[in-house]
């Protein structure tokens, strides 16, 4: 499938460009050809910027020709979720309301990506306003799963998921408020990292929930995620929630062995609501960690239902606040299902929101003590099922019916409430040929370590990335 260049992954592309085996222009052309060939069949893109991408690639080539370092991502083609401002391109947030909204400057995260030398091919499709876990979008097209286009990609970073799996770009940036990086990573088969809250700047990016949003990479390897995190993590004075801490050494950490690492398998977190093959995938990952030298014990995360519902109160109130003006003035321009979710937030009393903030502090401290006091990481499923059909409203697991969209998000929202990092990774395929996924959760600012742990499983062969054989 495709051109060989598009199957190399970001780290290899960067190495080959730096060593002049490949030019940035050649790389950009190869990925643009692929994106133009198949992107519309999967509703991957909202804006594909051929001219801008080739202009940037040409600058990278000139930099190399002049003997200067192009940066750690020099010439690597990337795509950004259409919540992120890129100067001169529209930032639509997947909406009608902002369909003509052209950014006047790069968001800080965009600037950091450019400074690392990456070449931005365009803006990726998403669930409207990032407010949904499936990737449905009535305005720009439902994002389609490349393993079976009748199925969802997962969301809200649906374009970010299917773009990577079909080699339309080498790395994408998504956002994760309740699972929106990890869900498409799980359902499409990518490695996706939700950073520690505040580690990556959110300035000049559309918010869903200011206190829960995180922006991070989806890619075909943990190494590629580490490269991108090295570029985008770190303090930003423009972002009020930035932790203002230096980024950890993502690439230096990749070689960290798993010997002596303590993994907590949170079986009770996911097993009673998940498909058997999903459970088997996580158990295989647990065995793989043990075989690589880690110890695995069972852990329980306390108070899950209260935490989930409180996180919901929290998120709904913040989303409603952000959208209040548009909801009052232009309700008809919203996807009706997104509008419904936003409207719920108007019923959350202010005192409930504040109690949720207080509970968040308390629950986080409790999880740090009771869970991460015993283990270094927690392993769990990322989604309880494989990708449902785009037409499905319910899924049946173990004889019980669940709301399809609500169930997708049932294993991820808690982690956003904690603000902890979580790396999603593939665990294999179902009998029906659909990706299975897990997540490895760490304590705050241990992002480099969760990514490194997944990298170690890649080295053993336990995590195997596979491009989807989709050609339009």
């Amino acid at each position: 499938m495709g051109d060989d260049i598009t199957l190399l992954g970001a780290a290899q592309i960067a190495r080959r460009i730096k060593s002049k085996q490949l030019t940035a222009t050649e790389a950009a052309e190869a990925f643009l050809f692929r994106a133009e060939q198949i992107g519309s069949a999967l509703n991957t893109w909202i804006t594909l910027d051929r001219e801008g991408a080739l202009r940037e690639a040409s600058k990278i080539d000139a930099t190399i020709a002049a003997g200067r370092d192009p940066g750690p991502l020099g010439g690597v083609p990337v795509g950004l979720k259409d919540l992120i401002d890129v100067e001169g391109l529209k930032t639509t947030a997947g909406s009608l309301i902002y369909r003509d909204n052209v950014a006047v400057r790069d968001a800080p995260i965009t600037r950091m990506i450019r400074e690392a030398g990456a070449v931005i091919l365009g803006k990726l499709n998403l669930h409207e306003f990032a407010f949904g876990p499936s990737g449905h979008n009535p305005h720009y097209g439902d994002q389609k799963n490349p393993w079976d286009p009748e199925r969802v990609t997962g969301g809200s970073s649906g374009g970010s998921g299917n773009a990577v799996l079909t080699a339309q770009v080498a790395i994408t940036i998504g956002s994760d408020t309740g699972g929106s990086i990890r869900i498409p990573a799980s359902l499409c088969g990518a490695i996706g990292h939700k950073p520690t809250f505040g580690l990556v700047t959110k300035a000049a990016c559309f918010p869903l929930s200011w206190s829960l949003d995180s922006f991070g990479p989806l890619a075909g390897s943990a190494e590629d995620c580490a490269l991108m995190m090295a570029a985008i993590a770190g303090p930003d004075p423009e972002d009020p929630s930035s932790l203002q801490v230096a980024a950890p050494d993502f690439t230096g950490a990749l070689g960290t062995p798993l010997k002596g690492v303590r993994i907590g398998h949170a079986r009770s977190y996911y097993a009673n609501q998940s498909e058997p093959e999903v459970i088997a995938g996580v158990e295989a990952a647990a065995r793989a960690f043990e075989e690589a030298g880690a110890s695995v014990i069972e852990v329980e995360i306390p108070d899950l239902k209260t935490a989930y519902d409180t996180a919901t109160n929290f998120m709904m109130a913040e989303a409603a606040a952000y959208h209040e003006k548009n909801v009052r003035e232009r309700p008809g321009d919203y996807d009706p299902k997104v509008l419904e979710r936003i409207q719920i937030g108007f019923f959350v009393p202010a005192t409930t929101y504040i109690q949720a903030q207080r509970y968040r502090s308390q629950w986080t401290a409790r999880v740090l003590k009771e869970v991460f006091g015993k283990v270094d990481f927690v392993l769990a499923a990322a989604t309880p099922m494989t990708a449902p059909l785009r037409s499905a409203t319910t899924v049946t697991i173990g004889g019980k019916d669940y709301d399809a969209r609500g169930h997708l998000i049932s294993l991820t929202r808690h982690i956003n409430f904690l603000g902890f990092p979580s790396t999603g990774f593939p665990t294999g395929f179902s009998e029906g040929g659909l990706p299975l996924g897990a997540q490895l959760i760490g304590p705050p600012l241990h992002d480099h370590k969760t990514i490194a742990a997944v990298h170690q499983l890649e080295n053993t062969g336990a995590v195997q990335y596979q491009y989807a054989p989709f050609n339009g």
Binding site: L243, T306, N313, R328, Q343, T352, R358, R360, P443, P444
Partner: protein, 66 residues
Amino acid sequence: MDFSNEEILRHSEALFGNPMDSKKAPGFASLLTSLDQANLRVVDALEDASEPMGHLLTLKGMRHGG
């Protein structure tokens, strides 16, 4: 809190200026009741010392771990 269908319809009309589709009110009511019950559990469980900005303080106090 009153999450009757009537109250939801009244409140949504007051907020948004248009009556909500009455078929949606029961779903709203069910979800809001669940969320309200969560808040009641939270109120019972909260320690006096828990502050709204405590979470960010926790994150800021963490270190990379080498």
